[in-house]
Symmetry: C3
Subunit: 436 residues, 3 copies
């Protein structure tokens, strides 16, 4: 890593496929870095998006718990990423093959902390904060799927270990220049690395936890509606907004052609995801379901995340549209399998994350992106994510337990875990618990 001394210009080679020269002026560096910081705060806002979406899609009695978890994840994610995650994900050198490396504890070396640039796109600190915002995202995906029944302490322990160790090591295989990077696996902004890995962890949690009380009774699938659709909608729009930073920032510079192109593929895939989900939902469920359409937007966004930089506009629309179809089918299918995911996180992030990753192998304009490599990449990372999450959740289940008591679950986690109500002045009309 080169570092800027005084006012000299930067001298690093920029990544492939751009119009940039091998050197950038200080002005270009400032513009690049500023965009990356904007992208970082947009990804930050995704955490409010997740908190709102998850709270809106679940029952009122568990709202405080969800808001608490998502606030705590932010703190845990940032602090563990500073302590070990960043240096596990970007180890510089690998110590075990190309699968594990660690550059040491903590971040930064300069005593004042104001280190200079270290590549053409951003400073060391920008690199850290952008990646740290991503890391916390991965754990948040899990939060929604295991909501309404997981013990707070158990979830926080899982999050700490998964974000600190599992996510960065898996991510290093690609973004840390590990073996999947060597293999030519392409995952632009993390359809697999962030979303499918988070989705696999969510699936592991759900399998070990089991469904919520009353969800599947006497062979029937009971709908448990979320308590606030405005909150859910706010969440989805904020997530979409954040995605402009998530994908747009993954260009790793303010490269005008590429960043703007990624904005367009991202937006159109989300739009197509809405259309896909709307059409299926209107036909299958007879009336168009807002929850499905919101998940359709997210499905399109997750789907385009792997290939936003390398597919045509029309392909982006097709990828998003198929993701919108997939998410509705998947939500219905998981319910048949009695895999209870209150917010549809597994359908959105796992199913569409895999789809988006494989779609690169189908639609990419770059002939080096092959379906097989994409399949290997998403399978390897998925297996690692699933197994590590299963191990962590399994160890917690075997020791302090994963699930709250039946009484607490029925009463609500807000009272059980926090002794608070989300809306103390609103008289509840609780959805009746079906006989189990």
């Amino acid at each position: 890593m080169n570092r800027l001394l005084g006012c000299s210009i930067l001298l690093m080679v920029f990544g492939s496929g751009t119009a940039f020269a091998e050197e950038v002026s200080q002005e270009m560096f400032v513009a690049n870095n500023t965009w990356m910081l904007v992208a970082a705060f947009l990804v930050f806002l995704m955490h409010l998006g997740f908190a709102s979406l998850e709270a809106g899609m679940t029952r009122q009695k568990n709202t405080v718990n969800i808001l608490f978890k998502n606030t705590a994840i932010m703190a845990i994610g940032l602090l563990t990423y500073a302590a070990v995650g960043f240096n596990l994900m970007y180890p510089g050198d690998f110590s075990i093959g190309e699968i594990f490396g660690f550059a040491g504890f903590g971040i930064g070396t300069d005593p004042t902390g104001v280190t200079s640039a270290y590549n053409v796109g951003y400073t060391y600190w920008t690199d850290f904060i952008f990646q740290a915002m991503f890391a916390a995202t991965c754990a948040t995906i899990v939060s929604g799927a295991v909501a309404e029944r997981i013990k707070l302490s158990s979830f926080l322990i899982f999050t700490t270990i998964f974000v600190a160790f599992a996510y960065p090591v898996i991510g290093s295989w690609k973004w840390g220049a590990g073996w999947l990077e060597t293999q030519g696996f392409h995952d632009f902004a993390g359809s697999t690395i962030v979303h499918a890995v988070g989705g696999w962890a969510a699936l592991a949690g759900v399998l070990l936890l089991g469904p919520r009380i009353g969800k599947y009774t006497r062979g029937k699938i009971n709908t448990i509606p979320g308590h606030s659709m405005p909150l859910a909608t706010i969440g989805v729009f904020l997530l979409w907004l954040g995605w402009f930073g998530f994908n747009g920032g993954s260009v790793l510079s303010a490269d005008p052609g590429m960043v703007s192109y990624v904005f367009v593929t991202t937006a159109l895939a989300a739009a197509a995801g809405i259309m896909g989900a709307m059409i299926v939902s209107w036909n299958v469920q007879k009336k168009p379901d807002l929850g499905m359409v919101l998940n359709g937007a997210l499905a399109g966004l997750v789907g385009i995340t792997a290939g936003a930089d390398t597919v045509t506009i029309m392909s982006a629309i097709v990828i998003g549209f198929i993701a919108g179809l997939l998410v509705v089918a998947s939500v219905l299918a998981f319910d048949r399998l009695k895999i209870d995911d209150p917010v549809g996180a597994i359908s959105v992030h796992l199913v569409c994350g895999i789809w988006g990753t494989l779609a690169v192998g189908i639609f990419s304009v770059n002939p080096e992106h092959t379906f097989l490599t994409q399949l290997i990449g998403t399978a390897a990372m998925g297996a690692a994510g699933f197994i590590s999450a299963l191990a962590i959740f399994g160890a917690i289940k075997a020791t302090i337990g994963l699930r709250v008591s039946k009484e607490e679950e029925i009463e609500g986690l807000d009272n059980g875990e926090h002794g608070m109500d989300a809306y103390p002045e609103v008289i509840l009309n609780p959805v009746p618990e079906p006989a189990s």
Copy 2:
């Protein structure tokens, strides 16, 4: 359109009135383009603002429907703008006088899509995404006015046709270098092109739909309060935020003097709109009405949109203040005329859009901006917007119908159109339906 090859600099002539030279460096181009992308995501966020405001200002039983419409508009707006709208609005050459042109279906030519710069301010893709976000806004304005009684399918059909054809063709008269541009009409960021045109379409819809059941009974105007003032307030603040991109991005570069000046006129006009509405509301209604003050902020913003770049600071404050007075008077006047607009969209966007456009003729520091030209522009575009909306809505009314059944309207569109509740656990205390 010139295109950047390699590292060469851009060679296009920039618009009038700026400090920029005829050539910009690659660094300047990156800075410009980055700002335009920021502006695009701010305008995107306005859609969440509209969704929140409209949902908050209407009844609980229609909340899901409003959220659904605003989510669907986003998808329809982006996809139709990519399919035809962008090339209708920026046709390059006109085929019928200076009033109609079409550059062909779809967007982009480069197979990878990563086209280079095509002017000093932004890339082709930035141009598209910024303008696409605007396009969807125009339809969203209609959504609030026709809320609580329009059939979902009918509204979605209207939106598709209006955003795909009417808005871009009308917009091309000015922003596509058509006849109103030739005439010297000035509408900086769209007081008329976006807001008044949207407002005229809203008026057409309301006239064909008629008022909500129970709104005007036995000669009385019954207040139908919105169900959530926090949601409405969140909406207005997000709209204001988005306006920094809406107006700030309409500079079409990051030109520091002009963008920052536009920020100041925009913010002060909004502030003055609040003051104007607060003063009238406090005096006329005796107690200061939060809804009026929120609409005052929006009124100031709509009012300054045509001239944010060309009036003095003091004029911006006066324009905003008058808009704040106008919006309160207008809301009360439309109620007298039994024109039922649940969120005050016609008052905000149509009345203040016309006011802002004419205000350029009064307050502009540029002597070429005349009142007459401004009047011609807003009248011509208004007539086109109103007539086309009337035709589209009329055709829909004559075929599949515009309005839900009386039973559905009383029960709420959430159940009727979507089979869902926005807040399933909240026991409703419905505003009694006045006898009709």
Copy 3:
């Protein structure tokens, strides 16, 4: 102030401690200015954050009033800052020692308003709008502490005078190059200038108002829970987001090393504040309180605001963590003292503002920052803020009165001051008023 003529480059000396040369190119200027405008709109969004947080943390019957106040503050803050505040805070020359100066009424000189650059970081207009957004923040801090019992007109009068005169004069002592700047006092983004000064004003208001009816009865401290934890959580996340502009913009340029470093210290201090508050709350209150954790995030943010540019990463974490401990202790302590602050604003902004300012004297890597100077600065500004607020609130109390009637307080200020309900369709389950 130098002004850019044509395409010439800027020639001003930039502030200390940066890698910038004494001249910046036009490209650098554009990049700097763009970042400052982004920072300005992020600080704008903090006002929605405050509105949401305060509304969420108080009772439903006072929600409209809080939303109204926060909307009006925005308008009053911007307009008074344009009229006098900006020129009081940045007087150029002082007329009374280094403690008072005034550069005249109004802003701007150029008739078209499109003035050129006046330093390397931003234009005159960017300077104004960024600082204006800060000014309004100071008054908003007061709003939460005096909520649920202050008369609307009294509060608006206080805000007008405090933001127009007290805040800018006090601020000029440091940011206007007054006597505390001369003394070497360091307050990077305003732990004292904005937060502690606002907190002292809040304390003055609370002391003159007294506690809410039913808060302290028969020697007991009664919990009065806020009505919507989702609203409060949205508020805190938006405030955190805004803080990236509040602190990041206080670099006064897009200096990549410094802005990105400030992002990291800011984010990690907030994360550590969450951890600190969570640990205390979980131990002391037995169950982890969401309100405390949210205030912990804000505590960390306020705490790092004075030194975000001048402490190490580890120090930032320690400062934030201690702020998180302090805020919980402080909330409990103020309740013992019967100082009733519905949202904990005094604990967050005053206590942690002082802590953050003193922490610079402890942790700064710059040996010129001494504890004594920091103590003098925060004491002098605090005294001035407290005394001026006491005088303004005192004069209002002696004339038109500060507090609503007992009947109005019990019924709620929404009905009393506005004749509206925040949620007209929700049947209230009011928290019983304890016998007094």
